[in-house]
């Protein structure tokens, strides 16, 4: 019996301690959503804590989760890879803005083929993922790669099993370049795949491709690079062959006209430009127009302001692409939409 009261005592002690501790350190901002930018937000949060002593806790629960949680008001900000439409933003009282850009890269596992040795265009890529092209030495691929010795291996398609922003960008590109894809499969964070196996997360896809002879999959650039996978080069809208690189993703963003896109709802796949990588996209932050916790929302805006100013280099070391300055200026202007209860803008960034 004594033991039990002792345990109870200890419990209440811990509880009290925990809450007291909690209130002392309560300068927390919580965000949740897309898994694609999770590493860079984590890196920024760590650096920001060192300079401003504010904890920004970002958790990757998926883009859909980010949208759901900001609508349910359980987080200070949400994050999504697939931008919300302007009318949906309006309906839910949200402001949306991009943070960084990333690229999606097709990766393969073929004996004797070096990274970038094989190039492919969007239409052929669509045919492969539709399951219409079944072997690597198919004439459609051979025609694009004269002089390359393509093996007679069956193509094993690997796609994401979980809903994901990566899938959204990839299917969005295929939908733009292949009418058959648009009709049969469509564009979404999760689709009904005509063929292939699903693997969980970018890592799952990377892992499965690395282990399956004849496999083709698509992963975010960082995963292709860190796991040293064999990437394909793509033939872009201008008919030029491009290699995936930070510069090529930046080129995709440079041509985009953010000013005209309400709520920055712009998907920058299949953009014009000689050096443009065709499967690139921004990742977005969602914040309430009239946040319940104005202080936390202000802190979040301060954080992103800091990140635009100081975070570019850290983003690049993790293979993300910072936004062009003109776009950042537009975003700062957009922030005036976020207001407190009296209708005054929460935070005006000093230039």
């Amino acid at each position: 019996m004594k033991k039990k009261s002792l345990i109870l005592l200890a419990a209440s002690g811990v509880l009290a301690g925990a809450t007291i501790f909690g209130t002392v350190l309560a300068a927390d901002i919580s965000g949740a959503g897309a898994s694609f930018p999770y590493p860079v937000y984590a890196k920024w949060a760590d650096s920001y804590k060192k300079s401003a002593n504010v904890n920004l806790n970002y958790q990757s629960i998926g883009s859909g989760g980010g949208i759901k949680q900001i609508i349910a008001k359980t987080v200070t900000f949400g994050a999504t890879d697939a931008p919300m439409k302007a009318e949906d933003l309006e309906k839910n009282g949200l402001v949306q803005f991009p943070t960084v850009i990333g690229g999606v890269v097709p990766v393969v596992n073929l004996d004797g083929i070096k990274p970038g040795a094989v190039k492919i265009d969007g239409a052929t890529l669509g045919q492969i993922f539709l399951g219409n092209i079944k072997t690597w030495n198919d004439p459609a691929i051979a025609k694009l790669n004269p002089g390359v010795n393509l093996p007679n291996t069956a193509i094993a398609i690997v796609h994401r099993s979980d809903g994901s922003g990566t899938t959204f960008l990839f299917t969005n590109y295929l939908g733009k370049v292949s009418k058959e894809w648009d009709d049969k499969v469509g564009v979404s964070t999760a689709v009904k795949w005509p063929a292939g196996i699903g693997a969980k997360g970018n890592e799952g896809v990377a892992n499965t491709v690395a282990q399956t002879k004849g496999a083709i999959g698509y992963v975010e650039y960082a995963y292709a690079k860190q796991n040293k996978l064999t990437h394909l080069n793509l033939i872009n809208k201008d008919g030029k062959t491009v290699e995936p690189s930070i510069a090529a993703f930046q080129a995709a963003a440079a041509g985009a006209d953010w000013a005209k896109a309400k709520g920055f709802n712009l998907i920058i796949t299949d953009q014009a430009g000689e050096k443009t990588w065709p499967i690139a996209g921004a990742t977005f932050i969602l914040i309430r127009k009239q946040p319940a916790d104005a202080a936390a929302a202000t802190d979040a805006l301060k954080f992103f302001d800091w990140a635009y100013k100081n975070g570019a280099k850290e983003a690049e070391t993790l293979d993300y692409v910072p936004l062009p300055d003109a776009t950042i200026a537009l975003i700062r202007k957009e922030w005036s939409e976020i207001k407190d209860a009296d209708g005054k803008p929460l935070y005006t960034p000093g230039s």
């Binding site: 004594k2 009261s5 809903g163 469509g186 693997a199 969980k200």
Partner: protein, 352 residues
């Protein structure tokens, strides 16, 4: 006695005082105040305490029921939109298309049953073998350590099996086991279609095998416990007649414990059906029904784990919750059968 009072759950003292007031008898209190009879007071407190304690424990027991009803209620509430929209055909539709918002549960149901079936096909004979080894063969000094080691396998968190399955086990199967299967079993007429296709490493078979490793300790330890309920007299008389160990196991132990073994297997099946983390990593997650077990598939729990946080459309979320409901109903039925079988064994064991 004072110490008693303190020990009685401190959190609930306010309600305890309530009860005392409710049954407060002024006349008696005055009397005892006058006479100052402490024994009487404490006696009363004890009886009240007993009533209160009985109520408290009963409430706690009822609370366990509340948890279950709460879970069921949330599941039904969440799956109503999907069930109303698709009707009963939800259960036998294979299509799962998030873009066009058409959902059917057949592929996950099939995958759940198929992986559990594979797991049982492997784990039941092996589990029985281990139990026979432990009860009949094993030298006594090894019996306990081995028994504990096998039970420890059950304690390893499922996420560890998942990571291990994805990074170690699946590549191993793909490189060494599956090509062999395709070349040998794949050419056997009649069952060849079960082992067709390229060796992906991950797929229904891999998931089934991981499940088998996970439920193996359950089956082994439950059957061992059940085997130990066989009265030694029965076994000894068989040995006395000159039966071999195998004959004793086959003709005495197994018939005697049949019901219990089946109950234990069903219990393990219940666990296999609901397993999430380990499966999600290795099943391949394709909403398709393929004849070959080397091909990817999906299970109910893997679909929920994969898609729930990303699902945005109400119908998608609701369909996933409906999958959860179906899983709950299936496990409920299996576990209920297991419990009833085991209970009937207990009754018989009690009767002997």
């Amino acid at each position: 006695m004072n110490e008693n009072k303190n020990a009685a759950d401190t959190r609930l003292r306010p309600r305890g005082t309530d009860m005392v007031e409710l049954t407060f008898d002024p006349a008696e209190a005055r009397a005892s105040e006058k006479t100052g009879d402490p024994r009487r007071n404490s006696q009363k407190r004890l009886i009240l305490g007993d009533k209160f304690f009985k109520l408290l424990t009963g409430a706690a027991a009822a609370f366990v029921l509340m948890i279950l009803f709460g879970v069921i209620f949330t599941l039904i509430e969440g799956s109503l939109p999907a069930l109303l929209h698709f009707g009963p055909s939800f259960i036998w539709t294979e299509e799962w298309n998030p873009v066009k918002e058409r959902f059917g549960a057949l592929a996950p149901i099939y995958g759940t049953i198929m992986t559990s079936l594979i797991a049982m096909l492997v784990a039941v004979p092996v589990g029985l073998g281990i139990a026979i080894f432990l009860t009949e063969l094993c030298p006594p000094f090894l019996r306990r350590p081995i028994g504990i080691a096998i039970e420890l396998l059950a304690g390893i968190p499922s996420i560890i099996y998942g990571i291990w399955g994805l990074f170690i086990f699946a590549p191993f199967l793909q490189r060494y086991v599956q090509p062999l299967m395709i070349d040998t079993l794949g050419n056997v007429p009649g069952i060849g279609w079960l082992f067709a296709g390229p060796p992906y490493g991950i797929g229904v078979l891999t998931a089934g095998l991981i499940l088998a490793i996970m439920v193996l300790p359950f089956i082994a330890s439950i059957t061992r416990d059940v085997f130990e309920t066989v009265p030694p007299v029965l076994k000894e008389s068989a040995y006395g007649l000159g039966a071999t160990t195998w004959e004793v196991v086959w003709k005495i132990v197994l018939p005697y414990t049949r019901v219990g073994v089946i109950g234990g297997v069903m219990l393990a099946l219940g666990r296999a059906l609901g397993e999430t983390m380990a499966i999600t990593f290795v099943i391949g997650n394709a909403h398709r029904i393929s004849a070959s077990v080397l091909q990817p598939g999906t299970t109910i729990s893997a679909s929920i784990a994969n898609e729930f946080v990303e699902a945005l459309a109400e119908l998608h979320t609701s369909s996933l919750t409906a999958l959860g409901l179906i899983l709950f109903v299936i496990t409920f039925i299996v576990l209920a059968c297991a419990r009833l079988l085991l209970a009937s064994l207990n009754k018989r064991a009690g009767g002997v």
